[in-house]
Symmetry: none
Subunit: 224 residues, 4 copies
């Protein structure tokens, strides 16, 4: 209530101020990714960011405690983006395939492909953030998208599948998750184009599926 009067009622200006603040914050973050993309991590200084964002350093510090927090926000941002993409991809395809059933391999491929394509555009920035997260303890966060797969499998979500349920231990999940993450990271480093190659995707799917099959066979009482 009472948000219109354009007087100097400082207390009332909450909403518009917040809106502007949110916008400023976003402008800073956007400038940050661009800077990261264009100049790399070493050139990513608060002063340069301020210039690039069109604000002054002081303003930056009005929105972020310190430099690291900016990087963290960026990383979180990227992770969320990947998470959303993956969820979308999974639900969308399930939807598309109405009537038909998605095999386990299908699902694996969806997850893998989504991951592989997550790094299109702003690759440099993404790689840097990925690395940063990896170097700190934050990959628990960063890996969440990949973890989805493992969770999905472990939770028996594919139970309706003709192939039966697969039980993955937490170690299994870790291994699977990190294998994918590690491979992507390395691919990013060595040759970004390799990542979106069909052969690459196939091999990665095979790796995951091979592992899951092994586990199923071990568990499988119905398939001697």
């Amino acid at each position: 209530m009472a948000s219109q009067p354009p007087s100097k009622s400082t207390a009332k200006r909450r909403a518009p101020a917040q809106a502007r603040a949110r916008q400023t914050r976003e402008l800073i973050l956007e400038a940050a990714i661009q800077l990261l993309e264009k100049r790399g991590l070493r050139a990513f200084s608060t002063n340069r960011l301020a210039t690039a964002a069109g604000f002054s350093v002081g303003t930056i510090y009005q929105y972020f405690e310190n430099k690291q927090e900016i990087l963290d926000a960026l990383a979180r941002h990227e992770r969320d983006r990947r998470l959303v993409r993956m969820t979308e991809a999974l639900t969308m395809r399930v939807h598309e395939a109405h009537g038909r059933k998605l095999t386990l391999r299908d699902r694996i491929r969806i997850v893998v492909r989504t991951e592989l394509h997550a790094f299109d555009g702003r690759q440099r920035a993404r790689k840097i953030l990925f690395d940063l997260a990896w170097r700190n303890d934050q990959h628990r966060d960063m890996d969440r998208p990949v973890t989805t797969l493992a969770a999905m499998l472990a939770a028996g979500e594919v139970a309706d599948d003709a192939e039966g349920v697969v039980q993955l231990s937490s170690i299994d999940a870790f291994i699977l998750t990190q294998a994918v993450a590690g491979i992507i990271r390395a691919g990013l480093e060595r040759d970004e184009h390799m990542l979106v190659t069909p052969e690459f995707e196939d091999a990665l799917v095979e790796l995951v599926a091979g592992f899951v099959d092994t586990r199923r066979r071990a568990q499988g009482q119905h398939k001697p």
Copy 2:
């Protein structure tokens, strides 16, 4: 003697022909790992290293062109250590098993186990070096130990095996190599003890073996 032109001083930096020099170099490197281990990469400055090593900065620069070269030397050192370990492990076990044949799975396990144990002690330093190498183009070097496995498989060294030859494409080799490296790296980060757990080793072996099996089945016309 002095009037003969000196041995052109092989560019690099003083070839430490003297015993003292060699010792100094080693003292510096030892101090460097310790510093890396105890204080991390950010605290790894040449001045601090000098202090820690008990020399003056100048001395450091008598043995190394610049800071990066120290890190490189350290990384190379570690890689060699791993390479030696792996070679030893492979030959030793083959020897032990005289008469008996080592299955493909046996060999995979040897490689995997050796890798997993390579990071005992000085884990932080090792992780930093591993990361550093990874970020530069030097992972080709750093991965060499793991690559051994892929090479071994691809080269058909296990041809006499009842299981037949396996052909791995370069993408396959990359995937396998990076999966192992990525998993170890993540494990190092999350919980060093997990790495030397039998379950962990098993899972990793399964991952690799599963993938190789898949490839074999795809190739195998003689074993339906």
Copy 3:
């Protein structure tokens, strides 16, 4: 306001729009000449300059890209000062002499005298800057004041003179310019007071006039 992209910050370094900034810049430059004067070039370090200026090193670098730029600014400053002085001297005297004509020798004397007196005070600093400019390619700039003379003569500005036009080749101009500059530099070194002696001035005027006369005689077919 903050959301408008800023004026692209003309690359160089912060354009000191603010009064304080301009003042700081000048304080730094002033401290710089004093430091140069009192302690010489070898003692002219950025840290010492900062201390002398009463700022921190960082501030210095907020106004100048690097150390050389400070020296350049100083040199430019000095050169401009000389250029202004010389222009003033020439126009003033021409004005004073209204009605009467200034002979070539008169003009030469004006230029020479102005140059000779340009180094009053802060001689050491001036010499250093002069030298520095000389060593780089900037002497084209530094010599500009003296070049004025040659240009004036070569351009036939004194054409109305009874003495006729003098044509100076570029080599002639170079020789004249550098002779004067070299002599002043050496005088500065050996004995600053000698420079403002009438005998010194006379001799220098004679040197220049003698050369010009020679050239005129060589050219002059109309005045045997």
Copy 4:
């Protein structure tokens, strides 16, 4: 006496030791010029010199108090070389021209040309040394060759000349000397090739001759 016995008579080895020492010293100096020529002043460090000379730093310090002394020795060396050249040039030409008289202009030209060509070969090193001497108080020394001309003229050595004696005050001599030196220095900097151009030589001769003529005319009562 007693210099042959190859025993360990340390006291007697004086002479051969001195010979070797002289040689070492010269080797160092030769390496020094080469280093200066090839790498410039900034790269001229004692350590690098030691390497280049094929000795160790310590040895350098056995022969020279400090770095500056090496530079001084080099400069002196160069100066002597120029002095010798100039003397040779003067006497040789006087000799060649037996019968004929060398005019004042002839002599001036000899001096000027010799100076101009003094910087052929090892130009960089020579320029550096020239500069160094100029920046310190040592140009009194460095200028000696040029001073010869002034001295010659002032001393009336050309008295037998039809053109009569010229008296140059010390200020005149200074001016003449420094004009030549300054011009050469500037030419060296701007374009070494310009220096050996006939036009350049002519102009320089004209400058000097013009000045001397002026002085003679001022003194000359016998030649109206």
